[in-house]
């Protein structure tokens, strides 16, 4: 197998044949933001966050799908790239309904991480506030399309790893949506094995385990009064009022 030598941001690196620029960058701890890419799944090349410049070409290339060639000179972090990446995250923020404060993954969200990474402090585009649906018909999981960034990781993992192919995309352009089977409620899907893989790989709070959402937690303050009363007075009966 032949080895290729090329340059990333002024340093020389070697790559095995077939490696992508992103793989080499990751191996060498060079940060390139990604969203649709996930190790183990096929590449999709669609979020465009990983675009890099290659000397000698006017075009930009996604690092996740582009293979280096001998003596190629790659730049991953130019002023232009930083500006474009920031704008892409801005576009994503404007597209969905990302109310982080009430989101299940607040603090563990790849979209949030990206926003920090590209130093996004405000969004210059008007929020689109789309009316997207939520499907909680599955016994274990929920999909909230308001938070979906259409990375298709769920589609790919379900097709390529679980081999169930529950998810697909319907519509086009800004109206694209992730659907289960032929746009049926997820809970009625005969193809879903409930393996949970899609939930694990979703970068945002669009797919989550039931019970994890803010507001889903059951609170019961009345039982404290019951316990104290029981201890003090040895009365082990709950009143109708307390049981409410």
């Amino acid at each position: 197998m032949s080895v290729i030598t090329f340059t990333i941001d002024g340093e020389q690196y070697s790559a095995k044949e077939g490696d992508t620029i992103l793989q080499v960058a990751r191996d060498n701890k060079i940060p390139i933001p990604t969203l649709c890419y996930l190790e183990g799944l096929s590449t999709f090349g669609a979020c465009r966050l990983c675009v890099v410049e290659i000397e000698g070409s006017q075009k930009l290339f996604p690092a996740c799908t582009t293979k280096p060639t001998e003596s190629m000179i790659v730049h991953t972090n130019t002023v232009k790239l930083k500006k474009y990446r920031k704008m892409i995250v801005e576009l994503l923020a404007s597209e969905g309904n990302h109310q982080c404060a009430v989101c299940v993954v607040n603090g563990h969200c790849e979209l949030q991480d990206l926003a920090y990474e590209v130093e996004l402090d405000h969004v210059r585009f008007p929020y689109l506030f789309p009316k997207k649906s939520l499907d909680a018909t599955h016994k274990d999981f929920v999909i909230d399309r308001n938070r979906c960034v259409l990375c298709t990781r769920c589609v790919r993992v379900c097709h390529e790893v679980e081999a169930a192919h529950v998810w697909d995309i319907a519509g086009r352009g800004i109206d694209c949506e992730i659907i289960a089977d032929l746009n049926q409620p997820w809970g009625t899907s005969p193809s879903c094995t409930s393996c949970g893989k899609c939930v694990r790989v979703c970068p945002t709070g669009a797919l989550f385990d039931k019970g994890a959402a803010v507001g889903e937690m059951q609170k019961e303050s009345g039982f404290i009064k019951f316990i104290v009363n029981a201890r003090n007075k040895h009365e082990w009966v709950r009143t109708a009022h307390e049981e409410e």
């Binding site: 979020c47 465009r48 930009l60 892409i88 008007p126 086009r172």
Partner: protein, 553 residues
């Protein structure tokens, strides 16, 4: 069928046609169908019958005659006369007076020396107004399938490719990629199966070049594809036509059946070892399915979504096999090149862009229609000599070339030669041949808004810059048109356009902002005059934005 059989057929058909003193050809393409050529056809037929002229005069339906805005058109072949606005009454008069008494119907005659015809050069459209669109015999009588016969009996595949390379033929679907080079890559690919695909998706609004070729001369495309199949070693072809073209689909089906019956498609063509079959795939009318990787996925029955190239279709196309994908017009040029030689073709047009280009002219122009011109012709000639200029009382403002993703070319660049490279220098592109003329009654911001709405609606939604970017571009233009935008909005719009252009995955997104960028370049005043003066604060932020804002440094 042997080559001798083919020649015999041609002679027989030529002799048959010579028996008639007159051939009346009515345009049977979609434009004239919609302006009423069926009634004309019926009346012609009736009149010929009633006057007992059927031994003397033959009537046939032919391909688009070019002046679609003046239809229905009728052409009398014997002493070449073209009639416009023909209705049943005029049709009867043509038969009675012109055919019967040798007197032309002056009121409806079009001057064939008009620059509309004189400035054109026909290769792809050479059979329009000559042959019956539904007759393989007539195609054969006009040298049809001669080129395929020549390739199969006199040339090895490498020679075919070398001829196409020497001719300098470039893809007519938009990007202008050298066709011979593409074929060569597929030829050299090692695989047990290869494919030929014809891109007849033609989704640009207002464009009908490819449709006209398929409706008027379908065998020319089949012949080109078969030659490509022989050149690269493929035995299967697919034509991907949009469902909105029912007449083209019908004619193609008829043509394929006829060619199979004559042994010009199928096994052992011209008694060689070459087998070639062609199937039709019907597209559901998404613009993005004209993009080659999306088209191939659609042919395979999957969702029509572009994917990252490389690998290119010539390495991994249909079912991951090496695949040639070319445009209708590209294939239509192949047979004439082999028949007349690469030198003949290379001498037409310019050195870097040889040959001709078919355009569909529409918009604010006196004579809209279908034209074919040598590459390198001045844009002025197309708009004024051929198109007749803008309607009375208006002045020319811009020509929009290259479809929804093309650019607007203003008056000061009217003398630009129309070829791939020159158009790019002014931010437009050749595209597949749509040309819309815009006069001073149109506002350029609204023109840009119209095209960006098209791109937004047609975005497949795969990549973020195009999916969300085109939406915001459209919304910002709408805001400008309504007079609600500020200078900051305008700056942001320009920034967004450049980003979408540079980062999108496929050609749709990469070219979607062209309409805005080119109108900003040449008609900036029209934008500025609609902007509100920036007042204090961050007026470029949407009022409904609920997020605390920090002014950008």
């Amino acid at each position: 069928m042997t080559v001798e059989d083919l020649r015999e057929l041609a002679e027989k058909e030529q002799a048959r046609q010579a028996e008639y003193e007159h051939r009346i050809l009515y345009c049977s393409s979609a434009g004239c169908v919609s302006s009423g050529c069926d009634a004309v056809k019926n009346e012609l037929k009736k009149a010929i019958g009633e006057l007992g002229l059927s031994k003397k005069c033959e009537m046939i339906g032919t391909g688009c005659l070019g002046l679609c805005g003046e239809g229905p058109l009728v052409f009398v072949h014997s002493d070449p006369t073209l009639y416009q606005h023909v209705d049943a009454t005029v049709a009867r008069r043509i038969v009675e007076e012109h055919i019967g008494q040798g007197k032309k119907v002056k009121e409806n005659e079009i001057d064939l020396n008009d620059p509309f015809f004189a400035s054109q050069k026909k290769i792809v459209l050479e059979n329009m107004g000559k042959i019956n669109a539904e007759s393989i015999e007539e195609y054969i009588a006009a040298d049809g399938y001669e080129a395929l016969a020549k390739a199969l009996t006199e040339m090895v595949p490498e020679e075919v490719i070398s001829e196409i390379r020497k001719a300098g033929l470039r893809g007519r679907g938009g990007a202008g990629y050298p066709t011979g080079l593409k074929w060569d890559i597929v030829r050299k690919g090692v695989a047990d199966q290869k494919y030929i695909v014809c891109n007849a998706d033609e989704g640009d609004p207002g464009a009908f070049m490819d449709r006209s070729v398929l409706e008027g001369d379908p065998h020319r495309v089949l012949e080109g594809m078969a030659i490509a199949g022989y050149a690269v070693g493929a035995n299967q072809g697919f034509i991907y036509v949009r469902a909105e073209y029912p007449l083209a689909i019908d004619r193609l089906k008829t043509a394929i059946k006829q060619a199979e019956r004559f042994g010009l498609l199928g096994n052992g063509i011209f008694e060689s070892h070459f087998n070639f079959r062609i199937d039709i795939r019907i597209g559901a009318g998404a613009f993005v399915c004209g993009e080659e990787t999306a088209l191939l996925r659609s042919v395979m029955g999957r969702r029509g979504r572009p994917k990252v190239r490389p690998p290119y279709p010539s390495e991994k196309g249909l079912w991951d096999k090496p695949t040639v994908i070319n445009n209708v017009e590209t294939y239509a040029n192949v047979a004439p090149i082999l028949r007349n030689g690469s030198g003949w073709f290379a001498a037409i047009g310019t050195q870097k862009s040889p040959g001709t280009k078919v355009f569909a002219i529409a918009g604010n122009v006196k004579r809209p229609g279908l034209i074919e011109v040598p590459m390198g012709i001045a844009l002025r000639k197309i708009v004024f000599d051929i198109g007749g200029g803008t309607p009375e009382g208006t002045t020319f403002k811009a020509a929009q070339a290259g479809g929804p993703s093309g650019g607007c070319i203003p008056t000061e660049h009217l003398d630009i030669p129309v070829d791939y490279e020159s158009l790019q220098t002014v931010g437009a592109m050749m595209g597949s041949g749509g040309m819309i003329v815009i006069d001073n009654t149109s506002n350029m911001v609204e023109v840009a808004k119209y095209f960006s709405e098209f791109c937004m609606d047609e975005s497949c939604g795969k990549c973020i810059p195009c999916r969300v970017g085109t939406k915001h571009i459209y919304m910002m233009l709408d805001k400008i048109v309504k007079g609600e935008a500020t200078e900051n909005d305008f700056e942001l719009l320009k920034e967004l356009c450049v980003m979408v252009k540079e980062t999108s995955l496929c050609g749709l997104g990469q070219s979607a902002p062209n309409g805005v960028l080119s109108t900003v370049r040449f008609f900036k005043d029209e934008y500025l005059s609609k902007l509100k003066k920036s007042s204090e604060g961050n007026t470029h932020l949407n009022e409904s934005s609920s997020v605390p804002v920090v002014k950008e440094a």
